[in-house]
Symmetry: C2
Subunit: 205 residues, 2 copies
């Protein structure tokens, strides 16, 4: 089981990678976790230039040696190359799972629109840096490695369609080539501690 | 020349109204400025309930006694009733000018979509409360009272179409019934002191 990690948005750190590597080695010994070298590039506040981030994503997504792709963290920037990069994916890319949230929602939305079957909204390696983040990373690895039933949101019902997004990301992809058809979906929103008027404005849209 | 003021968004104050009244009386004696009583209502952080704000807007817009409608201030909330209120406007409402910016952009967008001919993005009574705001209010009154040429953005060229918006307001009305057709328009954006990534994300959309 090989999981590739790429960083399509903001800068990532070796420290976060090391925490996740340690947890994976201790608790998911059959998982091989490979952080693409791009994860540690910096270009302004991005994890490398648009070209570098796009190339790493396409590289690992199209590589049959990986069973899943995990987005390292959110922040900002995946929208800057998502459309073009998704167009560059091959059928091999459809056979793996993809996991992330926040800014990675731009890519997940575009992949969903393109019909990719195995996409999930969930924790990312960067979560290892926050209080209580170990449990989140463990849950993510359980989904990536095993599709573990208990890694899923407990309220989900089989036979229904769900989408989960950061509301700001979702509203900013409406009308763009990344917007998926969410008809008849239940929308789960990740936002917490947001001003009520901002949530109201987004829900209006 | 009668200008009606309504407050479609956040709470407005008597203090701001008095400052604008004083300036208008001193410098625009032929202008009669009428603040709708709704301007001084409060409902949470709104200037009255959705129903009260909508009713005041429709009331003054449809009243032939007013030559222009001026939005008191921005903040948040005009999107909550804009579509329904615009549907309730009569041909009389098309004969007057409308001025505002920020959150009032939801209404101006919907009015533009509905073909209203005299709409401008510019200062509001609330500007009287800020440093340098008197000049802004003066400029607004010059447009409302006289359509004064020197009240306009100096770079505008005759024969071109322009739209001006707060970027957050504009992005949040995309795909809604308020979205106007901005094909072949020059877009002016009001935003200042915004994080670059936020502007970039909005421009992406």
């Amino acid at each position: 089981m090989r999981i590739g990690v790429v960083a399509p948005s903001s800068r990532f750190s070796e420290e976060a990678a090391n925490r996740v590597r340690a947890l994976a080695a201790a608790e998911f010994p059959r998982v091989e976790l490979v952080f693409h070298p791009q994860c540690f590039l910096t270009h302004n506040h991005f994890a490398g230039s648009d070209e570098a981030r796009a190339a790493a994503f396409v590289d690992y997504a199209n590589d049959p040696a990986f069973d899943a792709l995990w987005f390292a963290r959110g922040g900002y920037g995946s929208n800057r190359f998502a459309e073009e990069a998704i167009d560059a994916l091959t059928p091999t890319a459809r056979e793996k799972g993809y996991l992330g949230y926040s800014d990675a929602g731009f890519l997940l939305a575009g992949l969903y629109r393109a019909g990719f079957p195995s996409l999930a909204h969930g924790p990312m390696p960067q979560d290892a840096m926050r209080e209580g983040g170990e449990a989140a990373v463990r849950r993510a690895l359980a989904w990536l490695a095993d599709g573990a039933e208990d890694s899923l949101e407990p309220e989900l019902e089989r036979g229904r369609s769900y989408a989960a997004f950061n509301l700001t990301v979702l509203t900013h992809l409406l009308g763009t080539p990344l917007e998926p058809d969410l008809s008849d979906h239940v929308l789960l929103i990740e936002d917490v501690s947001e001003h009520t008027y901002r949530t109201d404005r987004a829900m209006f849209q």
